[in-house]
């Protein structure tokens, strides 16, 4: 028997919980999973990475290789292909539907195609690639000071390193820029990083659980990592990465949100109404990090 996991029509961080709930329900049994994206009209990098994470978790759970029905809309299909999604998905899913053969885009809104991150070497490649692709776009289209584009690479590097250092498994990163008409009426750059690893709670439990007592859980773990900058290592130099990302985003009026296990934490600027901490969500494997940097200097609506 096959259990259906619905992929939302508009698949981004806002609709991710629908997907997580559907996945949690499907994953509760031992049946084969069918990820149904045929009606999906749009997916953000966060959605694409999240879909791979779910596929990896389903794949790793020992059940039959999950199925994926591709979007019916050829424009969407072509975009997913250009974003490098199918290259990664083919390793996890039995794909149903015709996938167009296109190279990941060189001249498009895809700044970094969906890229696997397993080791430090992958982070080097990601940082190198993004600096060649992103600098012109960050400065000309988002109005970010050319000197500050290096901070973007640093933030990306630190976000990816969370996978290498803590997840205990591989993950993915994707970077895209686009016009956010409805939400912000500005251009934005979106970085999505996700893995199906052990998550923040598991990583920090040995050193932080006692300190939080009854409050300990996915939410407290995210709070410890993002707000308090704690790390599983006693070395005082650890925990700088997320702190550095926060500093960079705060300077450019950006947003960070991290989802892990059953909780999600966000540090949102004035243009966003995301809740600072949400607990009791559907369980979802690993950690998902979302960074958004908006276009500068045109005033927030």
């Amino acid at each position: 028997m096959t259990r259906l996991v619905d992929v939302p029509a508009q698949f981004d961080d806002r609709t991710f919980e629908q997907f997580a709930a559907s996945f949690a329900q499907g994953a509760a049994g031992g049946e084969r999973l069918l990820f149904d994206a045929h009606a999906t009209e749009w997916a953000s990098p966060y959605g694409l990475v999240g879909l791979l994470v779910a596929g990896q978790a389903a794949h790793a759970s020992g059940r039959e290789r999950p199925l994926l029905t591709v979007p019916a809309n050829p424009r969407v299909l072509s975009y997913w292909a250009r974003a490098g999604f199918f290259q990664q998905a083919a390793l996890l899913f039995e794909i149903h539907g015709k996938v167009p053969k296109v190279k990941p885009a060189e001249e498009s809104d895809v700044l970094l195609p969906v890229t696997a991150v397993r080791a430090a070497e992958d982070v080097h490649q990601v940082v190198s690639h993004i600096q060649q692709r992103a600098t012109a776009i960050l400065t000309s289209q988002l109005g970010i000071d050319p000197k500050a584009t290096m901070g973007f690479a640093m933030a990306l590097s630190e976000a990816c390193q969370n996978i290498v250092e803590h997840a205990g498994t591989g993950g993915w990163v994707a970077v895209q820029h686009y016009e956010w008409r409805r939400r912000l009426a500005k251009r934005v750059v979106v970085i999505a990083v996700g893995d199906a690893g052990v998550g923040f709670r598991h990583t920090l439990e040995p050193t932080q659980a006692k300190r939080f007592g009854d409050r300990w859980g996915d939410g407290a773990a995210l709070e410890a990592a993002l707000i308090q900058g704690t790390s599983r290592f006693r070395d005082p130099g650890r925990g700088q990465g997320l702190k550095g990302i926060r500093g960079y985003l705060s300077r450019w009026d950006g947003k960070i949100a991290i989802r892990s296990g059953t909780a999600r934490i966000a540090i949102a600027p004035s243009w966003d109404d995301d809740a600072p901490l949400t607990e009791g969500l559907s369980a979802f494997p690993g950690s998902q990090v979302l960074l958004i940097i908006p276009e500068q200097g045109t005033g927030t609506p």
Partner: protein, 140 residues
């Protein structure tokens, strides 16, 4: 004292040709290679020319950890982008480094640590005060 070419050490430490000092394993590999060559030196000069980007993890692994044994760290070729990572790391550890800006030196780090580095530089005659009160590098 010849400065250590950090970019060259990076090339020797990781497979592939990269100009970015990123990730903790890379930082560790670079630092360990440097440590092999300095053998208990109290003063170390490092040249960051050619290094495009350094992230917090590498700044911590290389600069902060070298300062556990080295008393004075003189850095050259430091860009604004490098400072983005160096400043918070130095702040977090309460450490300071001297940055060569032509003939002058700028001490980067929290005030107490910066004052200590200034004293060391003067005491070791690596620097002298200019008439305007700035720190100038003494030619070796």
């Amino acid at each position: 004292m010849r400065p250590i070419d950090v970019h060259a050490v990076l090339q020797q430490s990781v497979p592939g040709t990269y100009a970015d000092l990123v990730t903790r394993p890379t930082g560790r590999a670079v630092r360990e290679r440097i440590e092999l060559t300095i053998a208990g030196a109290a003063v170390l000069r490092m040249d960051f020319s050619g290094v495009r980007c350094i992230d917090y993890s590498c700044a911590d692994e290389i600069v902060a950890k070298l300062l556990r044994t080295v008393q004075v760290l003189l850095l050259r070729g430091v860009t604004d982008a490098h400072r983005l990572a160096l400043e918070p790391v130095l702040q977090g550890h309460g450490l300071a480094v001297a940055i060569e800006m032509g003939d002058l030196l700028e001490v980067l780090g929290p005030p107490e640590a910066a004052a200590q580095v200034c004293e060391e530089l003067l005491a070791r005659r690596l620097a002298e005060r200019t008439a305007g009160g700035a720190l100038a590098l003494v030619a070796a």
